[in-house]
């Protein structure tokens, strides 16, 4: 029976409006969110147009208009807590984090290179489950990306209960607590100061 009757579609366009999650869709972006997105986008715009004249008012005004469009359309999606970005302490910890991450990546690089070049190839790969105390999505994303950026470990999945599944080149323990201390511990305390 190859012929199939079309599903009942006669009112799916009109029905579509009812499907919308009203709570999320009708949420108006607050003015602080708009201002934050406007400022960041304007800064990036000035980086785009760097090769133009040092003070070119036409470019700056056009950039302001474009940032305003971008802010009013996307402020509801782009940011959640813009007030946090005003705290200068967070930027200090973020700068610290960049250097710390560079150091850890270098150490992990040397470790993986040692394992690859060793004649016995002492690896013990597998996937471990680790736990994180971080709450916000931004912090979890930064944590997962930092783990992936470090050679030897790679985030595979992120569950809703705050568990990460990490592929690790040399498993020292399959216990959740033990693995958490080894993989997550060094990133977590800095990320909490930056994002939460």
């Amino acid at each position: 029976m190859l012929y199939r009757k079309a599903p009942n579609t006669h009112n799916w366009y009109s029905g579509y409006n009812k499907v919308i999650n009203v709570e999320e869709a009708t949420e108006k972006p607050k003015i602080s969110k708009v201002v934050f997105v406007f400022a960041v986008t304007l800064a990036v715009w000035l980086l785009f147009t760097w090769p133009f004249a040092p003070v070119d008012w036409a470019t700056i005004i056009a950039g302001s208009i474009i940032s305003l469009i971008s802010g009013t359309i996307l402020a509801g999606v782009a940011t959640q807590h813009p007030i946090k970005a005003l705290n200068p302490v967070r930027y200090f910890w973020a700068a610290c984090y960049v250097f710390a991450l560079a150091w850890w990546v270098m150490v992990a690089n040397l470790d993986v290179a040692f394992r690859v070049l060793h004649p016995d190839v002492p690896i013990n790969p597998g996937i471990v489950k680790v736990k994180t105390k971080l709450k916000s999505d931004s912090a979890k994303t930064a944590l997962a990306n930092s783990i992936t950026l470090t050679p030897g470990t790679m985030t595979v999945d992120l569950s809703d209960e705050g568990h990460l599944y990490v592929h690790w080149i040399n498993i020292s323990s399959t216990e959740v607590e033990e693995a958490t201390r080894e993989v997550v511990g060094r990133f977590e305390w800095l990320l909490r100061r930056i994002f939460e």
């Binding site: 599903p7 036409a58 971008s70 994303t141």
Partner: protein, 147 residues
């Protein structure tokens, strides 16, 4: 379509305003640097397509609904036509570059090119709006099919 994992959602959230601004930048400075209305418009559409893929269409509908995409498309086409018709008003002819021949800007700057930047941005919004509409309809059709 409930969306993807929180990592994809968060990264999409962070980069989406820059993609939109970059699309308009590509369209606006098309007369000075490589680019123009067509690639800029496709980048604008790509921003909302990315949001649709990451978040599902319900969330995007509160940001940039199908109706506002159609309105953007039509308004951009109309403004392109109006720029053409204004040529008659200035006594030159349809789609004449009347701004450039009337008050030429300094070369290699944003305000040079007469009405080229305006038409470029109009084409950008037109292409972006219409491509997003067609993608949203495809996604909608698929969601209905899956029910």
């Amino acid at each position: 379509m409930s969306g993807m994992s929180p990592i994809v959602k968060t990264v999409t959230r962070w980069v989406s305003p820059f993609i939109l601004a970059f699309g308009i930048y590509i369209a606006l400075t098309g007369h000075l640097t490589p680019g123009g209305g067509f690639p800029g418009g496709v980048i604008i559409a790509g921003c909302f397509v990315l949001l649709t893929l990451a978040y599902g269409k319900e969330k995007v509908d509160g940001v940039f609904s199908l109706k506002s995409a159609s309105v953007t498309d039509s308004l951009a086409s109309l403004s392109f036509l109006c720029m053409g018709l204004l040529g008659y008003v200035f006594g030159r002819g349809f789609l004449n570059n009347f701004i450039q021949s009337g008050f030429p800007g300094k070369a290699f700057e944003l305000l040079s090119g007469g009405n080229m930047p305006i038409i470029n941005v109009a084409i950008g919004f037109k292409v972006g709006g219409s491509l997003f509409v067609v993608f949203a309809y495809l996604a909608l059709f698929r969601a209905i099919e899956e029910e």
